[in-house]
């Protein structure tokens, strides 16, 4: 039994990668730590359950990484995906710290493996967790428990008492035991984003948000973020910005995870509900442009689109959870997708006519392009003419949100007046917007979580001692 009458040095709200890294680093620094995870034990860890790798800088190849990935290169990649919408000081700090995280996380019991089948393009930059994100979480929880961190599940925080930027206590609500006031010298907020809160998404996306699928945990409702912002914490990031990819429209509303994704866009065309193309499917090497398709589909009517291809490319991409919908003719396929058959035939006929001869190679920006249609398909354009014709319906799948709390490089929360909070820290998705203004690079969410979690725990422990 956890003694809730005592005053803890560090209270961690959340139970994912950032929360556990914070709890472990605070405990290793000598602090007493309580972790409040809002989800039941099986669903512990928020979106970390669904992750598989982390992007860390390293100067040389390792047993699991195929080559060096310098801090500078990491920084350039970040600049590219965010279009410059990042805090350079924090980002460079995170990238520098990420080097040591590669080892530190192993000391916490996590194991690495070489990149997974189907993810060869990340073999140099990203380190993969042996057994995936839940295995990583299990290791962190095991370590935290061995170190004597107190952990409660189904532990929902319904209010925070904050005075002049100073955290005093949290109001805890449990299914058994009811409400309890939990006191602690410092707070680490690592409770994730608000992507599972459709009403909140609607505030900035409008009704379109009703058609979004949430790839991860249904427990990320942003309640802690909302409380903090209401208590005078400075916010960062655009509420419409998030990591969103196109996922199978047949996926469950929540928690479908990695297996609902599609990486077949570059092999076909993508049409909306009017059977019209709307974006260059061959813009860049997959998965560099993987993360733009969620927003692109979100901007289409009814937030639905269809990846259309033919039988010649079925084995060119990873096998999928949901089988493709098939038609012997384009009209039959259109019927199954409930699209206008004539419109789909017209789009495909025009596309096929625009395809220019070239040498197909999906590993490079090849010379297979269209001419004379808008939008063009600038690479990997091949005629769709070999039945059966196949399609995947896709919707925006929201992975995580970027609106969050402003922090400094101690992971300390900044208040609206710009002053650092006396004893509040934040790590993980709840402060991802400091580094990720928009866009996404594979594995960077975990980097943010581990680096700032570790820092937040260390600083909170130091803060609690003083």
């Amino acid at each position: 039994m956890v003694d809730l009458t005592r005053r803890f040095d560090v209270l961690v709200i959340g139970g994912g990668n950032a929360a556990l890294c914070a709890a472990i680093s605070a405990r290793r620094a000598g602090a007493s730590v309580l972790v409040l995870e809002g989800a039941p034990k099986f669903y512990r860890g928020g979106n970390t359950r669904h992750t598989r790798n982390m992007r860390c800088a390293h100067d040389a190849a390792t047993e699991i990484l195929t080559g060096p990935y310098t801090e500078e290169e990491f920084w350039k990649d970040l600049l590219l995906v965010t279009g410059g919408q990042t805090d350079e000081e924090l980002a460079r700090f995170m990238i520098h710290e990420s080097k040591d995280i590669l080892n530190w996380i192993v000391e916490q019991g996590v194991r690495w493996q070489p990149s997974l089948g189907g993810t060869l393009s990340l073999g140099r930059t990203n380190s993969f967790f042996l057994g995936g994100g839940r295995a990583m979480l299990n290791a962190l929880y095991r370590t935290a428990e061995e170190l004597g961190v107190d952990i409660l599940y189904d532990a929902e925080v319904i209010d925070l008492t904050v005075e002049d930027g100073m955290f005093l206590s949290a109001q805890l609500k449990q299914p058994v035991g009811g409400k309890t006031e939990v006191r602690a010298s410092t707070l680490v907020a690592a409770a994730g984003g608000f992507e599972a809160n459709i009403e909140w998404l609607k505030e900035s996306w409008g009704d379109a948000a009703a058609n979004f699928l949430i790839r991860g945990t249904p427990y990320n409702r942003g309640t802690i973020l909302k409380m903090l912002l209401a208590k005078g914490v400075r916010e960062i990031g655009d509420p419409t910005q998030c990591h969103a990819v196109a996922i199978d429209a047949r996926a469950p509303k929540f928690d479908g995870g990695i297996i609902t994704r599609h990486d077949s866009v570059v092999f076909g065309i993508v049409v909306n509900k009017h059977a019209e193309r709307f974006y260059d499917e061959g813009e860049d090497i997959w998965p560099k442009r993987y993360a733009i398709w969620g927003r692109l589909v979100a901007a289409q009517p009814d937030q639905i689109a269809y990846i259309i291809f033919d039988s010649t490319v079925v084995t060119s991409f990873m096998p999928t959870l949901f089988p493709p919908i098939a038609g012997a003719t384009i009209a039959e396929l259109a019927g199954k997708l409930e699209l206008d058959a004539a419109a789909l035939e017209k789009t495909i006929t025009e596309f096929n006519a625009a395809v220019q001869p070239g040498t197909f190679d999906h590993t490079i920006l090849d010379d297979c392009a269209t001419e004379g249609i808008t939008p063009p398909k600038t690479h990997w354009a091949r005629r769709i003419d070999t039945p059966p014709y196949l399609a995947y319906p896709v919707r925006p799948g929201i992975t995580f949100t970027y609106l969050g709390t402003r922090v400094n490089r101690e992971a300390r929360i900044l208040m609206k007046d710009g002053k650092p909070s006396a004893n509040m820290f934040a790590a993980g998705e709840i402060m991802a917007g400091n580094v990720l203004g928009k866009g996404y690079a594979a594995g960077i969410g975990m980097t943010i979580g581990s680096v700032f979690g570790r820092v937040a725990g260390r600083e909170a422990a130091k803060n609690a001692r003083n």
């Binding site: 042996l130 057994g131 095991r142 928690d255 096998p319």
Partner: protein, 367 residues
Amino acid sequence: MHGTRILQEADRLMTVCNSCRYCEGLCAVFPAMEMRRAFSDGDLNYLANLCHSCGACYADCQFSPPHEFNVNVPKTLAVARAESYAAYAWPRAFAGAFARNGLVISLIAALSVAAFIFGFAAVNDRGVLTGIHTGPGAFYKLMPHNAMALLFGLALLYAILALVMGVRAFWRDIGKPVGMTTDAKALLQAVRDAGELRYLDGGGVGCFNEDDQPTDRRKLYHHFTFYGFALCFAATCVGTLYHYLLAREAPYAWWDLPVVLGTLGGIGLVVGPLGLLGEKWKRDRVLVDEQRMGMDTAFILMLFLTSITGLALLLWRETAAMGPLLALHLGVVFALFITMPYGKFVHGIYRFVALVRYARERQMMAE
């Protein structure tokens, strides 16, 4: 569509897993799965027998129950594996032995022991059965050596024949995509993988059994059991060679090779099965193929009885209990031999064959 409901479920899971692949570093099952995009009955039986039931993929899976995708690979493959034993059994008429295996094995064991006791009593007069016999040839006062060698040789030959026929059917079924051949390199690799139980390891973390902590000791107990069994078998072989080549008759002195091998093996076959039984008792029910508990338990108990009766015989061989103990031991061993093709024993054979296939596939992919 697949032949059975469990293969249908295995297919569903492999489709889920093949679009995830997070577990590919844990064992051989997932890399083998990744070499395929669709799964035939043979493919699924191959994957099922490749699985060592370490439980890591269940503890690591974000989609395991209560998640709606309900992914429970260890249990599903355990059921499919057990059903595959029946499917490949030879002759086909005996496939039913797997259905209520615990009962079948117990009955055969009891009958076999009874047959030896009555046989001894019928052939020998009372004085011989309960008499004290020492020195070379003491055992053969109760049963002539040639009769013993013939009976057990035939039982073993039959078991080997039935196992080979089963393996043949299995091998044909899993033949694709690499063809029917294999080579010495793949065989050697499989011997290594099986010998060290490479895949009963959770990818290096350790195995899972009673909870989500990798604290399982099944690997250790299995080593005791397997190497104990191997030592006992070696003891029998050496004894036979002694008899026919050197004309040295059992029982042998405690320091002689057959007795040393048999004693060490016997100890392994006591510690191992008891440990395995304990672990099985503790195992998280969510991972357990409940219907096959009888089969697993029966085999473990048969091994345990083999060793315990053998050790008892060693301890009391110079007393009046030798006759009954010999009948008991021979009865258990005879039952073990003839039930080998129709019980849990086959798991080792099919898993080894699956490992050979896997080693071969890896080679072909690398080439």
